[in-house]
Structure formats: C-alpha cells, structure tokens
C-alpha cells in the first residue's frame, strides 16, 4: 500500500484530499504545516507528498528545499491556487514537476497521484526498461523527480526517436534546456512542440514565459510540464 503525506494548512482541504485518496486505497497521513511535515518525513517513509504551496510560516517551496537537503527523494506534487504561481525554476530544480491547480476535482488529484506513483514503482526501476515511447517519457519524468537531469534528457531523446512528433516530450526537453540555462535550445524545443500541436497549452505557456523573461526580465507564467 502506497503511503501519501498531505501537507496543507487548511484542515478541510486535507479532509477532502484524504477522502479522495483513501477511496483509491492509499494510506494517507496529514501534516498541517511545513514544520510538522518535516518532522513526519523524518519519522516515516512516504511514497509521495502532496504539498500546498501557500502556507503560513514555512511555505511549500521551503519545505521542499528542506526535504532535499535532508536527502529525501520523495516525489512531490505541488498544489497551487489559481493565479498564484510558484518560482517554477526553483521548484523544478528541486525535482518537482507535477502541479495541481486549485480548485480541483477528485479525479484530477487521483489521476496525477496515480501517474506519479506508477512512475516510481519499484519494478520499473529494477527491470531493464522496455524500449518504447511511453516508458522513456515516464523514465524521463522520474529522473527529473530524482533530480537526475542528464539522465532525464537522455530518456527524452530516446522517447523522441520513437515519436519525433511528441509535443509532450519536446516540451519537457525545452524545460530541461531552460533549467540548464540554455534558452536558445529551450525556445527551439517549445517552438517545435507548438508546431507539432498548435493547441499545446504547456508549450505555449512556456514559450510565453520565455518570451516574457526575454522582454520584461520577469514572468509570472509557471513552467508547464504538460499532463
């Protein structure tokens, strides 16, 4: 049974999340603050943490930073409120690439949780991976979670060999390039993603962000990794 820690200062939000996830058979714990979360994480092992970005006291990103400093590689889903955007690059460098925007429906939550859990299932890690697009994409995301960005990029390149017209993979490659400070390549990958799929929201948002960084020197657009 997978264990999930919900970190949110809102008791009702925690209740909802827990209800939604327990129905799926996850074992859910709650932490009402960043400090409590750190404590819980030190004491037990969790497969996944769901982290609210906006909390009084220690905010979500600080908690994430502390986790990584303590050497905890637990994958994290970050919950944001509409219009309030995390310092995307900072979150990404800490291995967080899965975001949920409030308000959300139980199914949105469950789908993302299932995806992340699936991504990190032990047998995938141990077994020689099958050679196909989905596996490489999944592996790439896992490597991002684990902050192995070079490995992640390799998987993405491999994934693209199977499906050179995958907007998702192209977009992720762009994100990785951007993380490495390679804006030229980032723009190239985002551009290709948009050309492949015109309505690719994530790539569009990333392109917009890059554009704003270029033009205005600052941006409020989040890094978007796609679904």
């Amino acid at each position: 049974m997978k264990r999930i820690l919900i970190i949110d200062d809102e008791p009702n939000a925690r209740l909802n999340f827990r209800m939604a996830l327990e129905l799926e058979g996850y074992e859910v714990s709650e932490a009402p603050s960043g400090a409590a979360a750190c404590e819980a994480l030190l004491g037990e092992l969790f497969d996944l943490a769901i982290l609210d970005l906006r909390m009084p006291g220690m905010d979500g990103l600080t908690v994430l930073e502390q986790m990584r400093e303590e050497g905890m590689a637990t994958p994290v889903i970050i919950v944001t409120a509409y219009g309030s955007v995390p310092d995307a690059v900072r979150a990404m460098k800490l291995g967080a690439i899965d975001f949920l925007e409030k308000p959300l429906r139980p199914d949105d939550l469950r789908r993302l949780v299932a995806e992340v859990v699936e991504r990190h299932r032990a047998d995938y890690r141990e077994r020689t991976e099958r050679e196909d697009f989905a596996t490489h994409l999944r592996a790439a995301k896992r490597q991002v979670n684990l902050q192995n960005f070079t490995l992640a990029e390799k998987h993405l390149q491999r994934a693209l060999e199977f499906e050179p017209r995958s907007a998702d993979a192209l977009n992720l490659l762009g994100v990785l390039a951007e993380l490495g400070g390679d804006y030229r390549n980032a723009r190239k990958y985002y551009g290709r993603a948009i050309r492949v799929r015109h309505d690719h929201e994530a790539a569009q948002q990333n392109m917009r962000r890059l554009f704003e960084l270029n033009v205005f020197g600052a941006t409020e657009e989040p890094l978007n990794l796609g679904d």
Partner: protein, 605 residues
Amino acid sequence: MPMTKRTSMRRQFLLGILPILCLFAVMGFYAISLFKELGGKIDVILKENYRSVLAGEGMKEGLARMDSAVVFTLVGENAHRDEVFVQGKSVFEDGLKREMNNITLPGERELADRTRDLYGRYLSEGQRFFSTPDEAGRSRLYFGSLLALTNQIRDTVQEIIRINQDNMVHASREARSKSYESTRYMFLTVGAGIIISLLLAWRLQAIILRPVRNLTVVTRELGEGNLDQVVPVQSNDELGELATAFNRLTGKLRVYRQVTTDEILKARQMTEIAFSAFPDPILTLSDEGTVTFLNPAAHRFAAKVGAKPALPEELSAELDAVLKGGPDYLPKSFEKAIPLRLDDQEIFFLPRVIGMRDEAGHIFGAALLLQDVTRFRLLDQVKTNLVSTVSHELKTPLTSVRMGLHLLLEERIGPLNSKQLELVLAAREDAERLLRMINDLLDLTRLEAGQARSYLERIEAQALVNAAVEESEPLVSARGQRLVAQVAPEIPALAVDARQIRHVFSNLISNAVKHSRPGDVITLKAEPVDHRVRFAVIDQGAGIPVEYQPRIFERFFRVPGDEQNGVGLGLAIAKEIVTAHGGSITVRSAPHQGTEFSFELPQAA
C-alpha cells in the same frame, strides 16, 4: 394684400410686349398683301401683252408669206404660188383672230379694227391681182394698191406690237418702283419697331430689375450684419410683396439678434463662471497650437509646472492629431494618465483633447482638459487589489466545498437518496458557477492591470475558428443547438495571443448558447476586412434591446430580466482582450432577430 389692388407682374409684362406684337402683325399683313398685289399684277399684264405681241408677230409672218406669193407671181414664178398664199392667209387670220380676242390696252381696239379692214381690202385686191392675166396689169395693180396695203397692214400690226411692248416695259417699271417703295416702308417700320422694342425693354427691366437690384444690395448688407436696412416698397406687384416680406424678415432678425446677443452674453458669463470654478485645468488652443484661453486652474497649474509648459510628447502628438482633424482623444483608462511632480507629490493627470469644430465640421481649435485622477487611480488600484485578494481568499473555501461535493456525488463513500442527490447537485452547480465568477473576476483584474501580457504568435484565422468550434462543440450540442463555421477563403494570418482569443470565442459562444433555443444555429464567421480580420458569433436568440446595447460590455452589466445566470463579466473580458490586441468589438442586435457579436483583429505583419 388683396388681389384686386395688385397689378400683377405678368400683366405688366404682357402689356409691355403687346405694342411690339401689334406692330409686327400690321407689318406682316402689309408685306403679305404687297407681295400678292405685285406678283398678281405683273403676271396678268405680262401674259396679256405677250399674247398680243405673239399675235402681232403671227400676223406679220402671215402677211410676209402672202406678200412673197404675190411677188413670186409678179416675177412669173407661179409654182406653189397658191399654196404659199393660202398658208400665209391662214397664219395671218389666226393671228388676227387672237388679237381681236385679246384687246387690253386703250387704242388697241381701233388698231385691230383698222387691221381687219385693211386686210379685207387686201384680200379683195389680191383676188383681183390673181385674176388679172397679163403681167403689166398685175404689176400696175401691185404697185398701185397691193404694196401700199401690205405696208399699211404691217405698220398697223407693228403699232399693236409696240404699244403692247411699251406697256410691258411700263408695267415692269411700275412694279420695280412699287417694290422700292415697299422696301422703304419696310425699313421704316422695322426701324420704328426696334426703337419701340428697346423702349419697352428698358421700361420692363426698370419694372423688374430695379427692385431686384435693391433687394440684392440690401441682402448683401444684411449678410454683413447690417440689419437696419429697409428695401423701398415701390410697387404692389410680386416684387413689392417680396420686398415687404423681406422687410418683415429683417425686422424679425433684428429682434432675434437682440435676444440672441443677450443670451450669448449670458451663456458666456455662465461658461466663464463655470470654467473658473472648475477644479481641473482647461485650456483652449487655436488651430495653430497657440493657447487662446486658460481657466484659473490652468493658470495655477502653469505657475506650478514652471517656466516650461511643454506638453509631454505623446500628448502633443494627440493634440496635433486632433487639430489635423482626427477624432477627439478621450482616454478612459488610467494607464493614459500623465504623472507630474507638483509640490513634492506625484499627481496624475488624465488628458482629454476635444476638437472645436464649426458647423461644417472644420477644426478651428481644441480644448485640452487635464483631469486630476490621482485619487481615482489610487481607488482603482485599491479596488483591483481588493478584488484580487478577496477572490483568492474565496477560492480556498470554495475549493473544499466543490471537492467535497464532487466526492459525495461519486457515491463511493456511500449512496445518496434522490433528494440528497438533488440537493448536492444543486450545490455543485452553484459552486461551479461561483468558481466561474471568481475566475472571471481574476481574469478581468489581471487584464485590467495589464498583468496578462500577451504573447503574440502567428496563427491562421482558420486555426482559431477550428479551435473555438472544437472547444465549444460539446456545450452547443448539449443544448441541442448547432455550431456552423463560415471562414472566408484566403483569409490572412493573425498575430495574437491564441489562448486569450480562444477565451474571447468561448465567452461569446457560451453567451450565444445561453440565449438560443434548442434547434437554433450559432454561426461563427471569419472574413478579411482591409488589413484586419473580422470574426463574428451570430445567434438566433431573442436579441438585446437597443437601449441596453451600449452598456453590454460594462463589467457586471446584465440585461434586466435576463434569467441566465452569470455575473456579467464575460463580455467585459472579451472586450479587454480584444482591445489589448488593438482590435475592436461591437454588438449588433435587434429584438427577435438574434444577436451578432463581432470583433476585428489586425492581421499579422
């Protein structure tokens, strides 16, 4: 004015030309009778006399033949003698007969009778001559009487010819003199006619033109503002009537001018008082850009700004544009406010430039109003922040409410009975609605604050329409309606923020869906309109009453009586987005004929 007293101008005119008419009639009749007389007389005379002349000539010839027969006999040449004589006789008698029947001149009768008598004697003497057998006897007879008779006859006939010829010459001379005479008369009458006509024309123009000239002079004076002019009323015809009416008009104008001058003075005083009391600076400029008026606030403002009252560059550009005939510059957004430091405070002025136009629409100056919007701007910011903060704060509990409701509705926690289900469904519907409103509010505040900067990308109009159709199709078919896209061929590409434009489409389509009945068609159109692309969303719904159309894009505005739920932000958001793209959005609607929302976006460079 009574009709009887008036000599109508038409009558004057007719009376004026009547003498000329009479003159021409008399002359015409005279000329016609003259020509008739001349022509007829000469013709008859010539015919009659000519006939007599011909008869005379015939007689002369007949006589000559008869004489030659006699002479032949005398010299012993008897062949054909009788034949020639008889021929000559018949020719002579024929001529004599014609002459006898054509006696026209005095004395002609005597001459004819004498010819007949002489001829009778000639015939009997001729008889004797031919019956005389010896040559000497014949000769005696010929020289004794026959030759003399022949000569007498010839002379008499010649006399007849002469008097007839003389008469012909005389008649022709008479006709010529008569014609000379007529020509002289004609010249005289024509000359008289011309003189009379000139006199009459002079009189007519005096009657008609002099009053008109008077009127012209007075009207010109009137045009120059001299209202004390009076046109002399000289006649009681139409022109006299006109002059009277004109004088009445100037009288009224005099009164009117007096009244309006007073009113203008009053209005000017009021305007000046209002301008002085107006707290914001107002200045007017001539069309050359020089300041012509400053109200006290503008004086104070100029004093504070200091020695360099130069306008900010963009404002003077707007001013130039208005002075060159452009539309008035009436910005509403506080973004257009100009910051100035006065007395160590930052003050924001929202400039407005209003062209002053004459009736023909020509610019003769401009008014510049600088509205102090510092406080409004502050309030606006507070409002925006407040709305944004409140919306965020509302979202947290709403998230829980919504998620809880969704969980309940999954019925995986436990089954709901039908009443519970109904209540929870209603609660979820309202939660969704609340969420939409909050999202709209946040969108709008972000758009208004200019936070949602646009990332412009090149995209085909067709792609935008396709995306809109794809996105809205489920919503439209769920209501039993149909979505039809009509995209003009060869439509240019656009440079827009596709996400925001999709938002515009989705707002307009959901609006159309709400106001359409099941079975209605919603049409999406795209067509090029000179360097722009015009998109339209057309429904067949009840339409928007005309009185509400101007307000339809206002925030929170909802048509009274509209039962559709919504907070009234969708159209405001659409307008913000379109405007931020440099486009324009309009509505066209008539009750029961549907509504067309259309927006134009500039095409990609």
